[in-house]
């Protein structure tokens, strides 16, 4: 009778592998966790409706031009809708990117560089998007 040799299990992560929380960070990670779930649910509704209207229904992008945008943004509802979607999407996506950078940046210096770059692009996109929505004057 042969003796079964149990296969060697792959290494599991242990407590010492996990990133230790830095001092003085407070409950930031908890709030970020809650925010990802709340904004996620809202974004499912906002983005799927936005995508259906702009890309699927009534010919999709075929009919999207300056006149179409003018017609939509003549109604303040769609400006507030688009601003809410922009803000939530950038905060949700920005926080997701932060988590990914934390996972893969190999040194503290690189982490700082990647995070600064991400924050800059996210911030500039928010400013540009907000200006686009609210500085717009409908014509035609």
């Amino acid at each position: 009778m042969s003796v079964d040799v149990p296969p060697t299990p792959l290494p599991r992560s242990t407590a010492s592998d996990r990133r230790q929380p830095r001092m003085g960070k407070g409950n930031f990670e908890l709030y970020a966790w809650v925010f990802m779930r709340v904004s996620g649910v809202l974004l499912v509704l906002l983005v799927l409706a936005h995508f259906a209207i702009m890309h699927v229904l009534g010919g999709g992008l075929d009919r999207v031009n300056f006149a179409f945008v003018s017609g939509r943004w003549a109604n303040p509802f769609w400006r507030v809708y688009d601003f809410a979607m922009l803000t939530l999407a950038l905060l949700h996506g920005g926080n997701g990117l932060r988590v990914i950078i934390d996972d893969y940046a190999r040194t503290a210096y690189r982490r700082l560089v990647y995070l600064s770059l991400a924050a800059t692009v996210v911030g500039l996109t928010w400013v540009l998007g907000t200006l686009t929505i609210f500085a717009f004057t409908p014509r035609g």
Binding site: V44, L48, H55, D62, G93
Partner: protein, 145 residues
Amino acid sequence: MRGLPTRPRRAVQEVTSARMQRLGTLYRGREGMWTWVLHRISGVAILFYLFAHVADQALVNVSPEAYDRVMDTYRNPFVGLLELGLAVLIVFHALNGLRIILFDFWSKGIARQRQMLWVQTVLFVLLATPAVVAIGGKVVAELRA
């Protein structure tokens, strides 16, 4: 005796434990890991698309002609395929995110994770089909013309 254990259930348990021994964990190399990978990739791709989308939308404040000219460059099969990819990524990320929320807030979320993935797959097909038909139909029509 609290009910006889049925043979199929036994067999499933044995297979599961053998897999767990081989893989070290139920997570690694299984659906859970791959949906996690896809969630990250789709999330980053959607965010990078958003940067570009805000930049092109800003052209409405440059001039109506500038905006319409750029929109016209999007009306071709190549951009149509990118649009199709975006639709698929958004639907996946949305549904997978809702499943993650159920892990955290539904008491049976973890125990039912495999059933939830099947439900997610069905919903994915239902939600992605209209976009694939609408956008894919245009791509096919443009390629034939």
